[in-house]
Symmetry: C2
Subunit: 455 residues, 2 copies
């Protein structure tokens, strides 16, 4: 029944690849204001593409920052279920640029991979669904279910305006399930469905001492160096064993039940090979999969302040700022954890410096019912396209939209991803594995058929 659409995908790989390269060549970096116009350009690229495919009600819908792109196909009839397909067209920054083997916005095929910023996260995976819908409409003239696309431009900055957008468009976004492809699978032969995601809370921690940068010879020994004070604060956030020391941090963490603990222990542990780390780190009493999937963490992403250019400058900076985040697990309240952190920082800070904490976005963790028809349809679709039953995993990353779909639209969310863990997500040389890309398009076709059948 899907044969024609599958054949269409297989016969049009070159055209698909060219179109995806075009999409990836626009530097849609949502966090950098110099790319404002590129965000608009990417949204316009999407609407043109969606209209060409045959989607309806295609529109760029403004938010307080970067717009949402919407389009639908609702001709399956009122009795057919509706699938809300989510993706995000914004990407991460590309620094450090000198580590890219080909420029991040000049998509380049090497071997079986397509290299570009956004190749896997998430422009490439979003494109999978556009290609699947296109194949079905071109070959069968119809889809087996109603489909709505919601394509976001702010995922990499914490989906800061999406919640307001969703709660302002509850009718428009009404559906029976949501489908999200923004998660990795362990290998090209082993698909995986994510049923748990960690939450995220982002902070900046400022430490200020003098009113101006000072010469370390003249003032070293009498003025507290904010970089040193900041290092002391950061060092106090973890025990040597990797546990977070913020009082109350683990209070609301729910212990794994036996089935889950078994599931998480059973999964492949390729962390050393994937990362090249000499040894794993973290809470030794939990398995690595449990640590990334079911334990909250505290990380430092960068420290701003002082001299970081070529050579040396013997300065005591006036201030230093750490970019921080916490990954949260189900049942942890981001507001409560943030308050605990802020209180702790102020308790620890010596009176020789001023400290300030800025929260700038956050979302709670999510858990999905593994037995929902949408999740089961995704499992069947994977089996047909990848030839193997998927694993069920709890993923360490955060996709705020999943929680929003649960809370505001009461939707089950099927997380059916096509990236690989070595796709260099958020890093130089981001890529997508081309066989996964094309099998992903077939899986997306199977999903729509399977879901029509099961619901």
């Amino acid at each position: 029944m899907s044969e024609q659409a599958i054949a269409f995908i297989r016969n049009n790989q070159a055209a698909c690849l060219a179109q995806l390269k075009d999409f990836l060549s626009i530097p849609s970096i949502s966090t950098q204001s110099e790319h404002q116009a590129d965000m608009q350009k990417t949204a316009a690229w999407l609407t043109a593409t969606m209209e060409a495919i045959g989607l309806q009600h295609v529109q760029i819908m403004p938010t307080a920052k970067h717009p949402v792109v919407y389009g639908d196909w609702l001709n399956a009839g009122p009795d057919a279920p509706t699938v809300l397909i989510y993706g995000h067209y914004d990407v991460q920054p590309v620094e450090p640029l000198d580590l890219w083997e080909s420029p991040p916005f000049e998509p380049t095929v090497r071997g079986d991979n397509l290299f570009a910023r956004g190749a896997t996260d998430d422009k490439g995976q979003l494109f999978v669904h556009l290609a699947a819908v296109n194949a079905l409409l071109k070959t069968e003239g119809a889809l087996p279910v109603n489909v709505k696309f919601i394509l976001e431009g702010e995922e990499e900055i914490g989906s800061v305006n999406l919640e307001a957008f969703i709660s302002g468009h509850l009718e428009l976004l009404q559906a029976d399930c949501a489908l999200v492809s923004d998660t990795p699978i362990p290998s090209p032969d082993q698909p995986a469905i994510v049923y748990g995601l960690r939450g995220l809370a982002l902070f900046e921690l400022d430490v200020r001492s003098a009113q101006r940068d000072l010469h370390s010879g003249q003032y070293g020994g009498v003025v507290h160096n904010p970089l040193v004070a900041l290092a002391h604060l950061i060092a106090k956030m973890h025990t040597e064993n990797g546990a977070v020391t913020i009082p109350g941090f683990y209070d609301d963490v729910v212990p794994l039940d036996d089935e889950e603990a078994r599931l998480l222990d059973e999964q492949p542990e390729a962390y050393l090979a994937e990362t090249g780390a000499r040894k794993l780190w973290g809470e030794a009493e939990f398995s690595p999969n449990a640590r990334t999937g079911a334990r909250p963490t505290f990380e430092v992403h960068g420290i701003v302040g002082g001299y970081t250019g070529e050579g040396s400058k013997t300065v005591i900076p006036a201030a230093a700022t750490a970019k921080l985040s916490m990954r949260l697990v189900p049942n942890q309240d981001p507001d409560k954890v943030a308050a605990q952190f802020i209180k702790y920082v102020h308790q620890l800070a010596p009176d020789t410096v001023e400290v300030a904490v800025r929260r700038y976005d956050w979302g709670p963790a999510a858990l999905i019912d593994r037995h929902d028809p949408a999740v089961q349809a995704a499992a069947a679709a994977y089996k047909k396209s990848f030839g193997r039953q998927p694993l069920f995993v709890r993923e360490g990353g955060s996709i705020p939209v999943v929680t929003m779909f649960q809370q505001h639209l009461h939707l089950p969310v099927a997380m059916m991803g096509f990236g690989l863990t070595d796709d260099n997500l958020h890093a130089p040389n981001e890529k997508i594995h081309l066989p996964n890309l094309y099998r992903g398009m077939e899986a997306a076709i199977h999903f729509l058929k399977e879901y029509a059948h099961r619901k």
Copy 2:
């Protein structure tokens, strides 16, 4: 006897200022390779100026990096003493640029101050001596002593090639004393002679974990974040009281004798006003002056690694690097202290990360005999031009050349500076106080006369 030369200085202030502005407008940043050509241009500016003044043997003398500019006037005769005048024509980097009220290389007068990078450190102070020699030669046709200028281009990068240069030109640089104007005085009404300087040892400390940048959601909790590991290492270098914890660090520090302890306690303590810090920091059992002048310190100047741009990027960087330095006091051996530090870092580092320490320049501390004729001539010159006896201070900064002059040329060094402590040395809005600049020129004339007389 100096009246004509002094009058010449007073009548030619505008021309002097215009010439200094021209000198300051060349961005001679020695640490940044993009300014290589500017360094050459600055050296050429100096040779042209020195020849116009009437100096002889003026030449640009290459080193492994930035050249030394040399010139002399030796017609005072074999019985007259010879003064070796040192200055450096290189300057510090200018970041953060947005904090400058006028561009760093567009010298601008506001009120009594001339603002530009290098205004006080050290192009402005070096220029004082060129102007003084010019005034004497223009009015008297001769100098009371023989004079040799050695003008360096690498002071801000630790004078890395100067020691080889000096030991390769012992004959050329032979003199009876050295005169260095590269230190601040407490106020326009209170001159000060520096008789002690701290040494400097610069390091970079690398911490590496994974082979590539990682997504903090996927790997947070299992891979040691190098920024967190680095913060733990840095935090272990100081007690909460500000004492350095490196084993053996204070072993060779000589306690202050009673006269010195009194001298250091008596000096003005304007640290809070100068810096705007809310409270002083550091070893409470020593006075602030003793802490900057007579105690070694450990500082962090910047941390490289992770994301420091606008907004957020939830990355676990593959590596992080801290730019570090130690200020050393007399009797501390930089090699010994460096070895202690490197050993300590390797002892502290957990096996989840790789650490490496790079030393990139260093020099020991210096102490000068306060009763030497050169130091006494400087005191007399200050009294005549500033109207007040100078203080004798131990300065926290490091001027590697002072030690080199002591060790290789066996010269007493008179440190007679004209900068102020609020001149924003190494910081945005560097300036020189114009009344100090002009009085400095008079002091320089008096010094040459006084030294001829005393020696």
